[in-house]
Symmetry: C3
Subunit: 314 residues, 3 copies
């Protein structure tokens, strides 16, 4: 008991979606603001500044009781490693360093609710079979690199499909400023090709207001290429929190599948651990682009959505 800490999120609410294949729909959703989760974590002091650390965190759907992440018991995060003066080395299923630039720096919505950045922008969320090294922070600088082995140890060669990934970020913070540069490289499962994302994100705090700005360059298969620009604002005052963001995706391939998203959110803190929230997100798709307004749990079905919910952190 003393070696493990239990934590989690229970988040549920009403989800209204507009412009879905089934028209406009309304229902109950789980994890709109933050994915509902249950986690177990711990650390052990090994002396000489060294610690062992682990996290086991699984997602679930509070509306149906089902496991998240397609049926993985610890599908959100699972890793073990060592932390010391040299930094931290961890092994398991882990968030990519790239994702930190999107969730923690660029997106006022922290990758949740209808206005979340990943409706348009690549998230590169998690890497199976990964080794992550994070440096300590020195004079405001820190970095993190990750390598994801492509399941080479599978019994059958045909399952060797999820190929290697590399991800890294470089971060600098000074006073109110945080800047992060991130890159993610994923080998394609079938083609001798790969997908690359590069993002530069910054946020700046001025009193109650935090400004966010990000640019991402995406290079896909077969010369697909696009660029995203995000501008956002977080305003906090007492229990009130307002989130605004605008994202433009510029498709630089011949198809010109551009898109623009506007997102607005409001959270009322009943306590530091419990929020009521409301959010709206809307996407304009050009030339057959098919981006959808999702939330922290679901990728969404329509081009606009309203979220009303309750998030409790334990």
């Amino acid at each position: 008991q003393s070696h493990v800490q239990i934590y989690g999120v229970v988040d549920a609410g009403v989800l209204a979606e507009y412009g879905t294949p089934a028209g406009n729909t309304t229902g109950i959703g789980s994890g709109l603001a933050s994915g509902s989760r249950l986690g177990f974590k711990g650390s052990e002091d090994l002396g000489s500044g060294l610690s062992a650390v682990f996290v086991l965190e699984g997602g679930y759907h509070v509306d149906t009781g089902a496991m998240g992440q397609g049926g993985l018991i610890f599908g959100r995060q699972a890793f073990v490693g060592l932390r010391g003066t040299f930094g931290t080395v961890t092994v398991g299923r882990q968030y990519s360093p790239y994702y930190q630039a999107i969730r923690d720096v660029a997106d006022p919505f922290e990758d949740g609710m209808a206005g979340q950045a990943t409706n348009l922008m690549a998230g590169n969320y998690r890497m199976d079979n990964s080794v992550v090294y994070a440096t300590p922070r020195v004079a405001g600088w820190s970095a993190e690199v990750a390598y994801g082995a492509g399941e080479e140890t599978d019994k059958l060669a045909v399952n060797d499909a999820r190929k290697r990934q590399f991800s890294g970020m470089l971060s600098y913070t000074q006073g109110p400023l945080l800047v992060m540069l991130a890159h993610h490289h994923r080998e394609d499962a079938l083609l001798p090709d790969h997908v690359r994302h590069t993002a530069l994100a910054a946020r700046y705090t001025l009193g109650d207001v935090m400004g966010h700005v990000a640019v991402a360059d995406n290079r896909g298969l077969a010369a697909e290429r696009s660029r995203d620009v995000l501008l956002g604002v977080t305003w906090k005052n007492g229990p009130h929190r307002v989130l605004l963001s605008a994202i433009a995706r510029n498709d630089r391939s011949a198809a010109q599948r551009d898109a623009r998203q506007l997102g607005a959110g409001y959270l009322y803190g009943l306590s530091p651990r419990t929020d009521l929230y409301a959010a709206y997100g809307h996407i304009d798709n050009d030339n057959g682009a098919a981006f959808t307004v999702g939330n922290a749990t679901d990728s969404g079905n329509g081009n606009a959505a309203v979220n009303l919910g309750l998030r409790h952190i334990f």
Copy 2:
């Protein structure tokens, strides 16, 4: 750790069944008296009489290690909500108000062991995507209403099968008496029709003895209609507990598929948290009725069964 409480039940025993398609069988079963479960729950005081509450509770089979409820991690209960002077509002996968009338009032077996009422009577156990409002108790009166959204937010319209449900109960208690009136309405998944159940259940405590009585009216599809009458007794004395119940199901359709069940159970409390139990249930089926004697976890295969087991609550 301080924000979450772990609790559960481990229940296992010997299950003998009679009159099954495979003849008479004997084996090891899980959760005969109470479904084996592991749960996480918590509440947070938000001030002004308001609290946030959550429950995450999953079933499992102690005999095989498998997940319960067909593979749901929190398939028994999963909800989050707010409790205040106005009552409690919760969202998630929750027991129907109707089920409370059966389990908590009508059935001496509390919906477990071979004599359980739901062998014959409808349980209407759980509602996915549900919002439940429970009033506070005022002068002995309380009520609960639930609405279950029909998964309208599914990506594919063809999955929009589990239609809406409504469920409610009204309860009155005074001294030794508890009376509950409950109704459950479920839209059919395919037909423009619905299933309705109405139950009136009461229990009365006199010294060591509690008497139970219940009547349920069931209206199914295509003019199916039936009525159930239950009489039961619970006798408690020190570590001993004896349960008896008799149920008659009167099929009011042309097929006349009536059935009668007799159930008897005995629990010996090794402690308030640990019981040894024995139970017997027997059903007489008329005109091809196919009711089976189950238990808290399994719906059963035969028309009679014996349970011998150990239930530990933690």
Copy 3:
């Protein structure tokens, strides 16, 4: 919270395999030294020397977040029972008494890492639907017997495939010596035949060194018969631990599919709960024998493997 204790293992590392169908492979593996697991256990003092006990323990893959044991929530162990002066009786999914002789006495690797005994020898790990009785230890003697019911209570007779198992062990310990005799009997699922294993294992501690010796006789279907002989050494000194074992399998059937395994391992204890480990295992297969070098979680794909990892116990 006070009634349940949470415990577990997070184990991850690099797994290199040689001579697999896909050639030589390298990747990240979970649970090489000990299967990664999360468990919940507890006991309740019932007075008069009697206690209720339970264990719920599930495996998982830290490299992918997936559930272990093919998708069982408590696939490692799940049982409830009573412990008293008479011994312990438990019901559920449990390790066979036979497996204790292999893991706890015979194998210096304790059934983990590339050198583990079960690469060649039968493990008879777990028994579903089982009742286990363990005697108390008297004058150095103890015994354990297990009966596994063959899922007779399944709804369909065709699923009644996993037939009954019987398993038992007799153990004697005096000072530095521990001897265990074990037998396991499994009815075949289809044929009116059964598989039987008998093992005699001993270990002897002399200062920093523990010597291991075991002989197993295996009788399979259709007159298959083989014999295994194991010799092993465990050397412990401060944080260092060296494991060595050699196993010869003598196939006494006409096919003469003999095999020999050599295993070597080293663990460095960063603390009593956290180890760095390295291991190597190699198998020589004769006449088409197809034994593979596995680890605590995977049965392996090649005839040799290297493990490098970190195991943290909480």
